[in-house]
Protein backbone atom coordinates (compact mmCIF):
# COMPACT_ATOMS: atom_id res chain seq x y z
CA UNK A 1 0.00 0.00 0.00
CA UNK A 2 3.03 2.30 0.22
CA UNK A 3 3.02 3.18 -3.49
CA UNK A 4 -0.69 3.86 -3.32
CA UNK A 5 -0.38 6.24 -0.39
CA UNK A 6 2.28 8.00 -2.44
CA UNK A 7 -0.15 8.24 -5.33
CA UNK A 8 -3.18 9.24 -3.32
CA UNK A 9 -1.60 11.81 -1.02
CA UNK A 10 -3.68 13.79 1.43
CA UNK A 11 -3.63 16.84 -0.82
CA UNK A 12 -5.09 14.80 -3.65
CA UNK A 13 -7.74 13.09 -1.56
CA UNK A 14 -8.69 16.45 -0.14
CA UNK A 15 -9.05 18.12 -3.55
CA UNK A 16 -10.95 15.11 -4.77
CA UNK A 17 -13.40 15.26 -1.89
CA UNK A 18 -13.77 19.02 -1.81
CA UNK A 19 -12.87 20.29 -5.27
CA UNK A 20 -12.06 24.00 -5.50
CA UNK A 21 -13.55 26.21 -8.23
CA UNK A 22 -15.80 23.47 -9.49
CA UNK A 23 -18.67 24.35 -11.79
CA UNK A 24 -19.38 26.52 -14.79
CA UNK A 25 -18.06 30.10 -14.72
CA UNK A 26 -20.88 32.38 -15.89
CA UNK A 27 -18.48 35.19 -16.72
CA UNK A 28 -16.02 33.02 -18.68
CA UNK A 29 -14.66 34.36 -21.97
CA UNK A 30 -12.62 31.24 -22.78
CA UNK A 31 -13.68 27.58 -22.53
CA UNK A 32 -11.98 24.36 -23.52
CA UNK A 33 -12.95 20.73 -23.28
CA UNK A 34 -10.47 17.96 -22.60
CA UNK A 35 -10.98 14.24 -22.77
CA UNK A 36 -8.95 11.17 -22.18
CA UNK A 37 -10.41 8.64 -24.59
CA UNK A 38 -8.51 5.81 -23.00
CA UNK A 39 -10.25 6.33 -19.66
CA UNK A 40 -13.34 8.26 -20.62
CA UNK A 41 -12.31 11.11 -18.30
CA UNK A 42 -13.77 14.48 -19.23
CA UNK A 43 -12.84 17.98 -18.16
CA UNK A 44 -14.08 21.47 -19.08
CA UNK A 45 -12.03 24.46 -18.07
CA UNK A 46 -13.63 27.94 -17.94
CA UNK A 47 -11.49 31.09 -17.93
CA UNK A 48 -12.10 34.78 -17.63
CA UNK A 49 -9.00 36.36 -19.11
CA UNK A 50 -8.46 40.05 -18.45
CA UNK A 51 -5.58 41.68 -20.27
CA UNK A 52 -3.07 38.85 -20.35
CA UNK A 53 -3.98 37.44 -16.95
CA UNK A 54 -6.35 34.73 -15.79
CA UNK A 55 -8.78 36.68 -13.65
CA UNK A 56 -11.04 33.75 -12.87
CA UNK A 57 -10.94 30.01 -13.51
CA UNK A 58 -13.15 27.00 -12.85
CA UNK A 59 -13.61 23.44 -14.09
CA UNK A 60 -16.13 20.65 -14.25
CA UNK A 61 -16.19 17.13 -15.63
CA UNK A 62 -15.78 13.62 -14.38
CA UNK A 63 -12.98 11.24 -13.83
CA UNK A 64 -10.78 9.52 -11.31
CA UNK A 65 -9.48 11.10 -8.13
CA UNK A 66 -6.20 11.97 -9.80
CA UNK A 67 -7.77 13.85 -12.68
CA UNK A 68 -10.32 15.67 -10.52
CA UNK A 69 -7.85 16.63 -7.82
CA UNK A 70 -5.33 17.76 -10.39
CA UNK A 71 -7.85 20.00 -12.12
CA UNK A 72 -8.98 21.40 -8.81
CA UNK A 73 -5.45 22.14 -7.62
CA UNK A 74 -4.63 23.62 -11.00
CA UNK A 75 -7.39 26.20 -10.71
CA UNK A 76 -5.94 27.41 -7.41
CA UNK A 77 -2.50 27.71 -9.00
CA UNK A 78 -3.44 29.41 -12.25
CA UNK A 79 -5.57 32.21 -10.95
CA UNK A 80 -3.83 35.54 -11.60
CA UNK A 81 -1.19 34.02 -13.87
CA UNK A 82 -0.30 35.08 -17.42
CA UNK A 83 -0.34 32.55 -20.27
CA UNK A 84 3.46 32.40 -20.18
CA UNK A 85 3.48 31.75 -16.44
CA UNK A 86 0.79 29.09 -16.86
CA UNK A 87 2.86 27.36 -19.52
CA UNK A 88 5.88 27.34 -17.27
CA UNK A 89 3.87 25.96 -14.38
CA UNK A 90 2.58 23.18 -16.60
CA UNK A 91 6.11 22.29 -17.60
CA UNK A 92 7.06 22.07 -13.96
CA UNK A 93 4.00 19.94 -13.21
CA UNK A 94 4.70 17.67 -16.17
CA UNK A 95 8.25 17.21 -14.93
CA UNK A 96 6.98 16.25 -11.48
CA UNK A 97 4.46 13.64 -12.70
CA UNK A 98 6.85 12.06 -15.20
CA UNK A 99 10.00 11.98 -13.08
CA UNK A 100 8.72 11.97 -9.51
CA UNK A 101 11.11 14.78 -8.63
CA UNK A 102 9.76 17.20 -6.07
CA UNK A 103 9.44 20.84 -7.17
CA UNK A 104 12.32 23.19 -6.37
CA UNK A 105 10.10 25.48 -4.33
CA UNK A 106 7.62 24.09 -1.89
CA UNK A 107 4.28 23.68 -3.70
CA UNK A 108 1.17 21.55 -3.50
CA UNK A 109 2.03 20.37 -7.02
CA UNK A 110 4.58 18.11 -5.35
CA UNK A 111 1.69 15.96 -4.13
CA UNK A 112 1.53 14.54 -7.64
CA UNK A 113 5.08 13.17 -7.59
CA UNK A 114 3.72 9.69 -6.82
CA UNK A 115 2.01 9.57 -10.22
CA UNK A 116 5.27 8.80 -11.99
CA UNK A 117 5.28 5.21 -10.73
CA UNK A 118 1.85 4.76 -12.37
CA UNK A 119 2.57 5.75 -15.98
CA UNK A 120 -0.96 4.90 -17.05
CA UNK A 121 -2.19 7.68 -14.74
CA UNK A 122 -0.01 10.51 -16.05
CA UNK A 123 -2.68 11.33 -18.59
CA UNK A 124 -5.23 11.63 -15.78
CA UNK A 125 -3.04 14.12 -13.96
CA UNK A 126 -2.45 16.30 -17.02
CA UNK A 127 -5.98 16.32 -18.47
CA UNK A 128 -7.15 19.56 -16.85
CA UNK A 129 -3.89 21.28 -17.69
CA UNK A 130 -4.20 20.38 -21.37
CA UNK A 131 -7.67 21.88 -21.46
CA UNK A 132 -6.57 25.04 -19.63
CA UNK A 133 -3.64 25.64 -21.96
CA UNK A 134 -5.88 25.10 -24.96
CA UNK A 135 -8.39 27.57 -23.57
CA UNK A 136 -5.63 30.11 -23.10
CA UNK A 137 -4.50 29.66 -26.67
CA UNK A 138 -8.11 30.03 -27.74
CA UNK A 139 -7.83 26.63 -29.48
CA UNK A 140 -11.39 25.49 -30.15
CA UNK A 141 -10.47 21.80 -30.72
CA UNK A 142 -11.07 19.62 -27.69
CA UNK A 143 -7.84 18.84 -25.89
CA UNK A 144 -7.07 15.18 -25.86
CA UNK A 145 -4.44 13.39 -23.86
CA UNK A 146 -3.81 11.23 -26.91
CA UNK A 147 -1.94 14.02 -28.64
CA UNK A 148 1.50 13.15 -29.88
CA UNK A 149 3.21 15.69 -27.70
CA UNK A 150 2.05 14.15 -24.46
Amino acid sequence: MSDLSDLYQQVILDHNRRPRNRGKLPTANRVAHGDNPTCGDQCNVYLRVEGDRIAEISFDGSGCAISQASASLMTTQLKGKTAAEAGKLYEEFHHIVTTGEEPAEISDLGAFAGVHTFPARIKCATLGWHAALNALKGDPAPATTESHTD
Binding site: L4, Y8, C39, G40, S62
Partner: protein, 410 residues
Protein backbone atom coordinates in the same frame (compact mmCIF):
# COMPACT_ATOMS: atom_id res chain seq x y z
CA UNK B 1 -19.05 -32.24 -12.94
CA UNK B 2 -15.82 -30.89 -14.35
CA UNK B 3 -12.88 -30.79 -11.94
CA UNK B 4 -12.63 -27.00 -11.75
CA UNK B 5 -9.52 -27.09 -9.62
CA UNK B 6 -7.72 -29.16 -12.22
CA UNK B 7 -8.98 -26.84 -14.96
CA UNK B 8 -7.39 -23.91 -13.16
CA UNK B 9 -4.05 -25.71 -13.37
CA UNK B 10 -4.33 -25.76 -17.16
CA UNK B 11 -3.72 -22.00 -17.33
CA UNK B 12 -0.08 -21.05 -16.76
CA UNK B 13 -0.63 -17.29 -16.45
CA UNK B 14 -2.82 -17.67 -13.36
CA UNK B 15 -0.06 -19.07 -11.21
CA UNK B 16 1.83 -15.90 -10.43
CA UNK B 17 2.02 -13.22 -7.78
CA UNK B 18 1.03 -9.66 -8.60
CA UNK B 19 2.14 -6.95 -6.19
CA UNK B 20 2.88 -9.60 -3.62
CA UNK B 21 -0.51 -11.32 -3.86
CA UNK B 22 -1.72 -14.33 -5.84
CA UNK B 23 -3.17 -13.08 -9.12
CA UNK B 24 -6.97 -12.89 -9.10
CA UNK B 25 -7.77 -12.47 -12.77
CA UNK B 26 -11.26 -11.00 -13.17
CA UNK B 27 -10.82 -9.27 -16.53
CA UNK B 28 -12.06 -12.13 -18.69
CA UNK B 29 -14.60 -10.09 -20.64
CA UNK B 30 -11.64 -8.12 -22.01
CA UNK B 31 -9.64 -11.24 -22.77
CA UNK B 32 -9.42 -14.68 -21.21
CA UNK B 33 -6.28 -16.56 -20.35
CA UNK B 34 -5.15 -19.43 -22.60
CA UNK B 35 -4.74 -23.04 -21.47
CA UNK B 36 -1.42 -24.84 -21.90
CA UNK B 37 -2.88 -27.01 -24.70
CA UNK B 38 -3.69 -23.96 -26.82
CA UNK B 39 -0.27 -22.39 -26.30
CA UNK B 40 1.39 -25.70 -27.09
CA UNK B 41 -0.69 -26.29 -30.22
CA UNK B 42 0.61 -23.00 -31.52
CA UNK B 43 4.28 -23.69 -30.70
CA UNK B 44 4.05 -27.21 -32.04
CA UNK B 45 2.57 -26.01 -35.30
CA UNK B 46 5.42 -23.53 -35.76
CA UNK B 47 7.96 -26.19 -34.86
CA UNK B 48 6.68 -28.87 -37.19
CA UNK B 49 4.13 -27.99 -39.83
CA UNK B 50 4.67 -24.34 -40.57
CA UNK B 51 4.24 -23.42 -44.25
CA UNK B 52 1.90 -21.22 -46.22
CA UNK B 53 -1.49 -22.76 -46.90
CA UNK B 54 -3.30 -23.22 -50.22
CA UNK B 55 -1.60 -23.36 -53.59
CA UNK B 56 1.07 -25.45 -51.89
CA UNK B 57 1.83 -28.98 -53.01
CA UNK B 58 4.74 -29.83 -50.73
CA UNK B 59 4.37 -31.82 -47.52
CA UNK B 60 4.45 -28.98 -44.98
CA UNK B 61 2.10 -26.85 -47.02
CA UNK B 62 -0.37 -29.71 -47.34
CA UNK B 63 -0.16 -30.39 -43.60
CA UNK B 64 -0.71 -26.72 -42.85
CA UNK B 65 -3.64 -26.52 -45.26
CA UNK B 66 -5.26 -29.60 -43.75
CA UNK B 67 -4.82 -28.21 -40.25
CA UNK B 68 -6.19 -24.81 -41.25
CA UNK B 69 -9.22 -26.21 -43.05
CA UNK B 70 -9.63 -28.67 -40.18
CA UNK B 71 -9.85 -25.70 -37.82
CA UNK B 72 -12.54 -24.19 -40.02
CA UNK B 73 -14.55 -27.39 -39.85
CA UNK B 74 -13.99 -27.52 -36.07
CA UNK B 75 -15.30 -23.99 -35.61
CA UNK B 76 -18.29 -24.79 -37.86
CA UNK B 77 -19.11 -27.72 -35.61
CA UNK B 78 -18.60 -25.59 -32.48
CA UNK B 79 -21.49 -23.32 -33.45
CA UNK B 80 -23.38 -25.89 -35.55
CA UNK B 81 -23.00 -24.14 -38.91
CA UNK B 82 -24.29 -26.16 -41.86
CA UNK B 83 -20.89 -26.29 -43.60
CA UNK B 84 -17.27 -25.19 -43.04
CA UNK B 85 -17.66 -22.74 -45.93
CA UNK B 86 -19.99 -20.71 -43.73
CA UNK B 87 -17.05 -19.86 -41.42
CA UNK B 88 -14.88 -16.90 -42.42
CA UNK B 89 -11.75 -16.34 -40.37
CA UNK B 90 -11.03 -12.75 -39.33
CA UNK B 91 -8.98 -10.97 -36.67
CA UNK B 92 -11.95 -10.98 -34.30
CA UNK B 93 -15.44 -9.71 -33.61
CA UNK B 94 -14.65 -6.18 -34.69
CA UNK B 95 -13.24 -7.16 -38.05
CA UNK B 96 -16.08 -9.64 -38.57
CA UNK B 97 -18.70 -6.95 -38.09
CA UNK B 98 -16.80 -4.48 -40.26
CA UNK B 99 -16.56 -7.07 -43.00
CA UNK B 100 -20.27 -7.82 -42.96
CA UNK B 101 -21.27 -4.15 -42.61
CA UNK B 102 -19.04 -3.17 -45.52
CA UNK B 103 -19.62 -6.10 -47.85
CA UNK B 104 -23.26 -6.94 -47.17
CA UNK B 105 -24.05 -3.28 -46.55
CA UNK B 106 -22.55 -1.90 -49.74
CA UNK B 107 -24.49 -4.47 -51.78
CA UNK B 108 -27.80 -4.20 -49.93
CA UNK B 109 -28.27 -0.76 -48.39
CA UNK B 110 -29.61 2.35 -50.06
CA UNK B 111 -30.78 5.77 -48.90
CA UNK B 112 -33.87 5.45 -46.74
CA UNK B 113 -33.04 1.95 -45.53
CA UNK B 114 -32.73 1.47 -41.79
CA UNK B 115 -30.23 -0.52 -39.74
CA UNK B 116 -31.70 -1.41 -36.37
CA UNK B 117 -29.27 -1.65 -33.45
CA UNK B 118 -29.80 -1.63 -29.71
CA UNK B 119 -28.69 0.90 -27.14
CA UNK B 120 -26.48 -1.68 -25.44
CA UNK B 121 -24.10 -2.30 -28.34
CA UNK B 122 -20.34 -2.30 -27.93
CA UNK B 123 -18.63 0.29 -30.14
CA UNK B 124 -17.59 -2.61 -32.38
CA UNK B 125 -21.22 -3.32 -33.21
CA UNK B 126 -22.06 0.34 -33.62
CA UNK B 127 -19.30 2.30 -35.34
CA UNK B 128 -19.09 -0.08 -38.37
CA UNK B 129 -22.79 0.54 -38.96
CA UNK B 130 -22.30 4.30 -38.62
CA UNK B 131 -19.59 4.08 -41.28
CA UNK B 132 -21.64 2.06 -43.78
CA UNK B 133 -24.69 4.23 -43.09
CA UNK B 134 -22.64 7.27 -44.06
CA UNK B 135 -21.45 5.53 -47.20
CA UNK B 136 -24.83 4.29 -48.36
CA UNK B 137 -27.25 6.86 -47.04
CA UNK B 138 -28.95 4.34 -44.78
CA UNK B 139 -30.07 5.41 -41.31
CA UNK B 140 -29.53 3.99 -37.85
CA UNK B 141 -32.30 3.28 -35.39
CA UNK B 142 -32.03 1.98 -31.83
CA UNK B 143 -34.04 -0.44 -29.76
CA UNK B 144 -33.89 1.28 -26.33
CA UNK B 145 -32.68 -0.22 -23.11
CA UNK B 146 -34.72 0.19 -19.98
CA UNK B 147 -33.37 3.23 -18.15
CA UNK B 148 -31.41 3.80 -15.00
CA UNK B 149 -32.05 1.71 -11.90
CA UNK B 150 -34.05 -0.89 -13.74
CA UNK B 151 -32.42 -3.93 -15.13
CA UNK B 152 -30.81 -2.24 -18.13
CA UNK B 153 -32.15 -4.92 -20.47
CA UNK B 154 -33.71 -4.32 -23.86
CA UNK B 155 -37.17 -2.80 -24.00
CA UNK B 156 -38.54 -5.73 -26.00
CA UNK B 157 -42.06 -4.35 -25.99
CA UNK B 158 -40.91 -1.76 -28.51
CA UNK B 159 -39.35 -4.19 -30.95
CA UNK B 160 -42.36 -4.96 -33.15
CA UNK B 161 -43.04 -1.30 -33.74
CA UNK B 162 -39.41 -0.64 -34.67
CA UNK B 163 -39.18 -3.49 -37.20
CA UNK B 164 -40.74 -1.40 -39.96
CA UNK B 165 -40.42 -2.22 -43.68
CA UNK B 166 -37.43 0.14 -44.03
CA UNK B 167 -35.40 -2.02 -41.66
CA UNK B 168 -33.00 -4.17 -43.70
CA UNK B 169 -30.79 -5.48 -40.92
CA UNK B 170 -31.02 -5.95 -37.16
CA UNK B 171 -27.76 -6.25 -35.25
CA UNK B 172 -27.54 -6.94 -31.53
CA UNK B 173 -25.27 -8.41 -28.94
CA UNK B 174 -25.94 -11.86 -27.55
CA UNK B 175 -24.58 -10.94 -24.10
CA UNK B 176 -23.83 -7.39 -22.98
CA UNK B 177 -20.22 -6.83 -21.96
CA UNK B 178 -21.34 -4.05 -19.63
CA UNK B 179 -24.49 -5.24 -17.91
CA UNK B 180 -24.19 -9.01 -18.34
CA UNK B 181 -27.69 -9.14 -19.84
CA UNK B 182 -28.34 -12.22 -21.98
CA UNK B 183 -30.59 -11.28 -24.88
CA UNK B 184 -33.18 -13.78 -26.15
CA UNK B 185 -31.36 -14.22 -29.45
CA UNK B 186 -33.64 -16.83 -31.03
CA UNK B 187 -36.74 -14.80 -30.25
CA UNK B 188 -35.25 -11.60 -31.68
CA UNK B 189 -34.14 -13.41 -34.84
CA UNK B 190 -37.54 -15.01 -35.32
CA UNK B 191 -39.24 -11.63 -35.21
CA UNK B 192 -36.79 -10.22 -37.73
CA UNK B 193 -36.93 -13.24 -40.00
CA UNK B 194 -40.70 -13.04 -40.14
CA UNK B 195 -40.20 -9.65 -41.76
CA UNK B 196 -37.32 -10.81 -43.97
CA UNK B 197 -34.85 -8.70 -42.02
CA UNK B 198 -31.26 -9.92 -41.96
CA UNK B 199 -29.83 -10.51 -38.47
CA UNK B 200 -26.30 -10.11 -37.18
CA UNK B 201 -25.33 -11.17 -33.67
CA UNK B 202 -22.29 -9.94 -31.78
CA UNK B 203 -21.19 -13.10 -30.00
CA UNK B 204 -18.03 -11.74 -28.38
CA UNK B 205 -19.29 -12.32 -24.84
CA UNK B 206 -21.30 -15.48 -25.46
CA UNK B 207 -19.05 -17.66 -27.61
CA UNK B 208 -16.77 -18.90 -24.86
CA UNK B 209 -19.36 -19.01 -22.12
CA UNK B 210 -22.38 -20.97 -23.32
CA UNK B 211 -23.51 -23.39 -26.02
CA UNK B 212 -24.10 -21.51 -29.27
CA UNK B 213 -26.08 -23.07 -32.11
CA UNK B 214 -26.45 -20.61 -34.97
CA UNK B 215 -29.10 -22.68 -36.69
CA UNK B 216 -31.20 -23.03 -33.57
CA UNK B 217 -30.85 -19.28 -33.02
CA UNK B 218 -31.76 -18.69 -36.65
CA UNK B 219 -29.42 -15.75 -37.25
CA UNK B 220 -27.85 -14.81 -40.57
CA UNK B 221 -24.47 -13.70 -39.19
CA UNK B 222 -22.72 -14.46 -35.91
CA UNK B 223 -19.37 -12.83 -35.03
CA UNK B 224 -16.83 -13.68 -32.35
CA UNK B 225 -13.21 -13.44 -31.17
CA UNK B 226 -10.80 -16.23 -30.29
CA UNK B 227 -9.07 -14.30 -27.53
CA UNK B 228 -12.28 -14.21 -25.48
CA UNK B 229 -12.73 -17.99 -25.61
CA UNK B 230 -9.41 -19.34 -24.33
CA UNK B 231 -7.77 -19.11 -27.76
CA UNK B 232 -5.20 -16.53 -28.86
CA UNK B 233 -5.19 -12.97 -30.14
CA UNK B 234 -5.39 -12.09 -33.83
CA UNK B 235 -8.00 -14.68 -34.74
CA UNK B 236 -11.75 -14.74 -34.75
CA UNK B 237 -14.45 -15.63 -37.20
CA UNK B 238 -17.97 -15.10 -38.26
CA UNK B 239 -20.69 -17.38 -39.42
CA UNK B 240 -22.66 -16.31 -42.46
CA UNK B 241 -25.53 -18.13 -44.06
CA UNK B 242 -24.28 -19.59 -47.35
CA UNK B 243 -26.91 -17.93 -49.52
CA UNK B 244 -26.03 -14.50 -48.16
CA UNK B 245 -22.28 -15.03 -48.41
CA UNK B 246 -22.60 -16.19 -52.01
CA UNK B 247 -24.21 -12.90 -52.96
CA UNK B 248 -21.72 -10.66 -51.15
CA UNK B 249 -18.85 -8.83 -52.84
CA UNK B 250 -15.33 -9.24 -51.47
CA UNK B 251 -14.14 -7.06 -48.60
CA UNK B 252 -10.37 -6.97 -49.01
CA UNK B 253 -8.65 -7.80 -52.30
CA UNK B 254 -5.44 -9.73 -52.77
CA UNK B 255 -3.87 -13.14 -53.06
CA UNK B 256 -5.99 -16.19 -52.39
CA UNK B 257 -9.43 -14.69 -52.98
CA UNK B 258 -9.49 -14.40 -56.74
CA UNK B 259 -10.18 -16.99 -59.40
CA UNK B 260 -8.81 -14.85 -62.18
CA UNK B 261 -6.99 -11.52 -62.26
CA UNK B 262 -6.41 -9.33 -65.26
CA UNK B 263 -4.89 -5.90 -65.16
CA UNK B 264 -8.29 -4.20 -65.16
CA UNK B 265 -10.69 -6.66 -63.58
CA UNK B 266 -10.83 -9.78 -61.49
CA UNK B 267 -13.17 -12.63 -60.73
CA UNK B 268 -13.67 -13.88 -57.18
CA UNK B 269 -13.53 -17.31 -55.65
CA UNK B 270 -16.55 -18.60 -53.77
CA UNK B 271 -16.82 -18.36 -49.98
CA UNK B 272 -14.85 -18.70 -47.71
CA UNK B 273 -11.80 -17.79 -49.82
CA UNK B 274 -13.51 -14.72 -51.29
CA UNK B 275 -13.42 -13.08 -47.88
CA UNK B 276 -9.93 -14.12 -46.82
CA UNK B 277 -7.54 -12.06 -48.91
CA UNK B 278 -3.83 -12.54 -48.35
CA UNK B 279 -2.05 -15.07 -46.22
CA UNK B 280 -4.57 -16.03 -43.56
CA UNK B 281 -3.62 -16.24 -39.90
CA UNK B 282 -3.55 -20.01 -40.19
CA UNK B 283 -1.46 -20.73 -37.09
CA UNK B 284 -3.78 -18.84 -34.78
CA UNK B 285 -6.81 -20.40 -36.50
CA UNK B 286 -5.40 -23.81 -35.61
CA UNK B 287 -5.00 -22.65 -32.00
CA UNK B 288 -8.65 -21.55 -32.11
CA UNK B 289 -9.59 -25.07 -33.16
CA UNK B 290 -7.70 -26.39 -30.13
CA UNK B 291 -9.62 -24.00 -27.89
CA UNK B 292 -12.91 -25.36 -29.27
CA UNK B 293 -11.77 -28.85 -28.28
CA UNK B 294 -10.72 -27.62 -24.86
CA UNK B 295 -14.02 -25.89 -24.11
CA UNK B 296 -16.10 -28.78 -25.39
CA UNK B 297 -13.97 -31.06 -23.24
CA UNK B 298 -15.26 -29.18 -20.20
CA UNK B 299 -18.75 -28.85 -21.63
CA UNK B 300 -20.30 -25.54 -22.49
CA UNK B 301 -23.41 -26.17 -20.44
CA UNK B 302 -21.14 -26.63 -17.44
CA UNK B 303 -19.21 -23.46 -18.26
CA UNK B 304 -22.42 -21.45 -18.57
CA UNK B 305 -23.58 -22.68 -15.18
CA UNK B 306 -20.17 -22.09 -13.58
CA UNK B 307 -19.68 -18.56 -14.88
CA UNK B 308 -23.30 -17.58 -14.27
CA UNK B 309 -23.20 -18.95 -10.72
CA UNK B 310 -20.08 -16.92 -9.96
CA UNK B 311 -21.65 -13.79 -11.40
CA UNK B 312 -24.80 -14.24 -9.32
CA UNK B 313 -22.75 -14.90 -6.21
CA UNK B 314 -20.70 -11.78 -6.86
CA UNK B 315 -23.86 -9.75 -7.44
CA UNK B 316 -25.24 -10.92 -4.12
CA UNK B 317 -22.06 -10.34 -2.13
CA UNK B 318 -21.41 -6.94 -3.68
CA UNK B 319 -24.97 -5.72 -3.23
CA UNK B 320 -24.43 -5.11 0.50
CA UNK B 321 -21.57 -2.64 -0.08
CA UNK B 322 -22.61 0.91 0.87
CA UNK B 323 -23.58 3.11 -2.05
CA UNK B 324 -23.07 0.46 -4.75
CA UNK B 325 -25.07 0.54 -7.96
CA UNK B 326 -25.15 -2.81 -9.74
CA UNK B 327 -26.00 -3.03 -13.43
CA UNK B 328 -27.97 -5.70 -15.23
CA UNK B 329 -30.39 -8.36 -14.07
CA UNK B 330 -30.31 -9.91 -10.62
CA UNK B 331 -30.91 -13.50 -11.74
CA UNK B 332 -29.97 -15.12 -15.03
CA UNK B 333 -26.94 -13.33 -16.44
CA UNK B 334 -23.67 -13.76 -18.29
CA UNK B 335 -20.48 -14.29 -16.32
CA UNK B 336 -19.80 -10.73 -15.23
CA UNK B 337 -20.90 -8.01 -12.83
CA UNK B 338 -20.51 -4.30 -13.35
CA UNK B 339 -20.96 -1.70 -10.62
CA UNK B 340 -20.42 1.93 -9.66
CA UNK B 341 -20.05 4.02 -6.53
CA UNK B 342 -20.94 7.65 -6.27
CA UNK B 343 -17.82 8.51 -4.29
CA UNK B 344 -15.07 6.46 -5.87
CA UNK B 345 -14.26 6.46 -9.55
CA UNK B 346 -13.79 3.13 -11.35
CA UNK B 347 -10.16 3.85 -12.22
CA UNK B 348 -9.25 4.46 -8.63
CA UNK B 349 -10.88 1.17 -7.71
CA UNK B 350 -8.97 -0.69 -10.42
CA UNK B 351 -5.68 0.83 -9.28
CA UNK B 352 -6.32 -0.10 -5.65
CA UNK B 353 -7.53 -3.61 -6.48
CA UNK B 354 -4.41 -4.16 -8.56
CA UNK B 355 -2.40 -3.50 -5.42
CA UNK B 356 -4.17 -6.56 -3.98
CA UNK B 357 -3.37 -8.64 -7.07
CA UNK B 358 -6.88 -8.34 -8.50
CA UNK B 359 -7.28 -7.60 -12.22
CA UNK B 360 -10.47 -5.61 -12.90
CA UNK B 361 -11.56 -3.36 -15.72
CA UNK B 362 -12.94 0.14 -15.20
CA UNK B 363 -14.38 2.70 -17.57
CA UNK B 364 -16.99 2.85 -20.28
CA UNK B 365 -16.22 -0.64 -21.63
CA UNK B 366 -16.50 0.61 -25.21
CA UNK B 367 -20.07 1.39 -24.42
CA UNK B 368 -20.16 5.17 -24.19
CA UNK B 369 -23.71 5.74 -25.46
CA UNK B 370 -25.12 3.24 -22.96
CA UNK B 371 -23.14 4.90 -20.14
CA UNK B 372 -24.59 8.28 -21.07
CA UNK B 373 -28.06 6.79 -21.20
CA UNK B 374 -27.67 5.25 -17.75
CA UNK B 375 -26.20 8.48 -16.38
CA UNK B 376 -22.85 6.92 -15.63
CA UNK B 377 -19.32 7.89 -16.59
CA UNK B 378 -18.03 4.38 -16.11
CA UNK B 379 -18.29 1.24 -14.06
CA UNK B 380 -15.97 -1.30 -12.53
CA UNK B 381 -16.37 -4.75 -14.01
CA UNK B 382 -15.45 -8.17 -12.65
CA UNK B 383 -15.80 -10.91 -15.24
CA UNK B 384 -15.39 -14.63 -14.70
CA UNK B 385 -14.20 -17.69 -16.51
CA UNK B 386 -13.69 -21.39 -15.98
CA UNK B 387 -10.77 -20.93 -13.58
CA UNK B 388 -12.32 -18.40 -11.21
CA UNK B 389 -13.53 -19.40 -7.77
CA UNK B 390 -15.93 -18.31 -5.06
CA UNK B 391 -12.93 -17.52 -2.85
CA UNK B 392 -11.74 -14.98 -5.39
CA UNK B 393 -15.04 -13.15 -5.00
CA UNK B 394 -14.36 -12.90 -1.27
CA UNK B 395 -10.93 -11.44 -2.02
CA UNK B 396 -12.62 -8.89 -4.28
CA UNK B 397 -15.21 -7.89 -1.68
CA UNK B 398 -12.56 -7.48 1.02
CA UNK B 399 -10.47 -5.31 -1.28
CA UNK B 400 -13.45 -3.16 -2.21
CA UNK B 401 -14.32 -2.59 1.44
CA UNK B 402 -10.79 -1.40 2.08
CA UNK B 403 -10.93 0.95 -0.90
CA UNK B 404 -14.24 2.44 0.18
CA UNK B 405 -12.81 2.99 3.63
CA UNK B 406 -9.70 4.66 2.26
CA UNK B 407 -11.68 7.14 0.21
CA UNK B 408 -14.39 7.75 2.81
CA UNK B 409 -12.23 7.74 5.88
CA UNK B 410 -9.09 9.61 5.18
Amino acid sequence: MPDWKKIRDDFPALHQQVNGHPLVYLDNAATTQRPRVVIDTLSRFYERDNANVHRGLHALSMRATDAYEGARARVAKFINAAAPEEIIFTRGTTESINLVASSWGSANLKPGDVILLTEMEHHSNLVPWQLIAQRTGAKLRYLPVLGANVEGGLDLAQLDALLTPEVKLFAFTHVSNTTGTINPAAELCAKARAKKIVTMIDGAQSIGHMPVDVRAIGCDFYAFSGHKMAAVTGIGAFYGRQALLDAMPPYQGGGGMISNVDFFESRWKPTPERFEAGTPNFADAIALGAACDYLDGIGRDEIARHDGDLARLAYEKLSVLPGIRLLGPKGERGGLVSFAFQEVHAHDIVTFADEDGIALRGGHHCNQPLMKKLGLTGTTRASFYVYNTAEEIDVLVTSLRRILKFFAGS
